[in-house]
Subunit: 212 residues, 4 copies
């Protein structure tokens, strides 16, 4: 996906991919009741993102809107951008390597993020599937997901995430307590794989009961 020379045709292609990703997540129970949101970079300073309040299993092209990396609509639009757009923008602004961002809202992520909210992180260690995360080459790598306290002040939450990421080594995603998972990648394909790997490990951790 080129970050330059964005045109209407690239919007249409990116939006179609986002719709397919959202449907795939919804079929797995990861975006109940209009929850979840998905975006992809269109250019240096623009992104396509799911509109607020739409059912993720049945999106259409008009449910994808275009915003600048500061979260403002770039033109007239049928829908408002997701209420959590600021969390997507924080990641796109932070690194030009981020080409897509996904927020899923699974049972495992909800339960484990609540359980580990006080501790502040979920640790996933010794899973072969961790190698599906970009840059991970061995199951010996430990995947640490920070857990942020939930709030309706999304601007504040974006600042908390930015502060954490500036002070710590790179992470592959984070959790918001009682709310779900954020993850990202170089493009939509990488991001899908990251969702699938992280949700798998969260399911295993829940089955193991090893995270107290």
């Amino acid at each position: 996906m080129s970050a330059r020379g964005t045109s209407i045709s690239s919007f249409s292609s990116v939006a179609t991919e986002l719709i397919a990703l959202a449907r795939w997540c919804h079929e797995r129970g990861w975006t109940p009741a209009t929850s979840g949101n998905f975006s992809a970079r269109l250019g240096d300073e623009t992104l396509a993102i799911t509109a607020s309040g739409r059912p993720k299993g049945a999106l259409v092209l008009s449910d994808i809107v275009v915003v600048n990396t500061d979260g403002r609509l770039t033109g007239p639009s049928a829908g408002r951008p997701s209420a959590e757009t600021a969390l997507h923008c924080q990641l796109y602004r932070r690194s030009g390597d981020v080409g897509a961002v996904a927020h899923t809202h699974s049972r495992a992520a909800t339960v484990l993020s609540r359980r580990c909210a006080q501790e502040g992180y979920v640790t996933l260690a010794g899973y072969e599937v961790a190698k599906a995360l970009s840059g991970v080459t061995t199951h010996d790598d430990t995947v640490l997901l920070p857990v942020f306290v939930n709030t309706q002040d999304i601007g504040k939450l974006a600042e908390d995430v930015e502060a954490f990421m500036s002070a710590h080594p790179p992470v592959h995603g984070y959790l918001i307590a009682g709310h779900g998972l954020y993850t990202w990648g170089a493009d939509i394909v990488d991001t899908s794989r990251h969702i699938e790997a992280l949700e798998f490990m969260l399911d295993c951790a829940l089955l193991e009961g090893s995270i107290s």
Copy 2:
């Protein structure tokens, strides 16, 4: 959905939506073995409701019947209205804002309602997805679902629900022990979203084991 000027075409459209909702619930395992029932308001004093004893994954138009808000058929019909019609009517009579009612019968609702029958309610607190319920704007809102003791005397059960609702703040749904969930909304779309959000939170509560 207009509550006025109901015509044959609006029945057909509403019935088609109810059939789709019932199939969607059945695919998720929420209406096993002909359990579950679904209705939507056609006019001030009429509603369309699923007939008794039909498999919810394979309904056809003749499986949807029309009754008054006192539960009597408005005309000749191929089927009897659901045995639990009185529970639907109680809600439509209580408030003109109720446009649709659903009763699902999931594993989580069955197990948790049995577990909490003596206590009399299930409390769902701190879940972001609670915001999918109409009128809820923050995860800080606690969702309380009263649990009624099961009985085959549906008239008595409807009176118990009416008495509870008259004496307490508004609720988004209720449980019947060993029997499942009732929820409602302004229309079928809202009601579907309420089912999905409540069933998600019940699943999480079951996974958490936090409800003793």
Copy 3:
């Protein structure tokens, strides 16, 4: 389904229904790895039954064979009748009211039947969905499923079932330890509903952990 005047066309119709039932069970994970078997009465002394060793999610007409109620093929056949045919025959011989028999092999039935093998029965009490069983009119009825010790001697197992049924009040099904559920009904539709209701209650009992 008439038990008289069986013809080639009725075989074809019954076999098609059995194939659909088997596929439906396989999609739910209830007949893994060629397990499970299904039959329906064709006449007073004949039945159609799934052949041995076929994958239940992909049966074709030649995977359904016709046997007498003593388990012998009534004519040339592409397949051998299920190894557990004697368990089906015991039920058809015992009562002319039995029009179809199903054996599913779910995770819940496997785990609970092992857990309760020594006690000798699984008790399902207070479930509204019990009303889906023919003859049950209230959730107050307790559903008792006897559990038989597993054996490869199917003739012996059929005798054990016959002896139990002669000495006890009627049951709606039984379990074989580590092996699964047998249930039956007046026809294939009733039997499907019984499977769905019993598997639902077994899932709930497993989630409740109430069966020690």
Copy 4:
């Protein structure tokens, strides 16, 4: 499947079967995030195997490559063979009776293999479905799956498996800790059945909590 006279048409047919098997496993959640790999014998010393890093739910013909039983590509190829090709080759070289090999990566296999890594094996006893494994004729047979410590040194892992298999009675599969299941059979149909039976028993063992 003939092991002699391999031609382009037999490759195409075998590859199509492998693609279907991989999709079937992915739909069940057994190959998340490009994990899992599948192969089938084409001739005495050649096999078709899934390429590295492809999503198992959406393989195409060019995602299947041909290697010798020492793991080297037999000709020009669009993809690299699976990183775990050596584990497949060990089995094909060990016995001419092995016609297909599958590696799944399910939640149950991941969790149980971690739990039993120190003990060194998972024991599955008293399950009727064990009879779906070639050569098993009674539920009284105990199925023992050795558990190998995970490593990124696949050559070393293949040697460990070979050493184990030379020193012990035949097994129907093995686990790698935090990584999943390997199983095999005379052909793809047998291997599919072995996957389904073993994954079923692992699910039951996890539900039973009987493996400490």
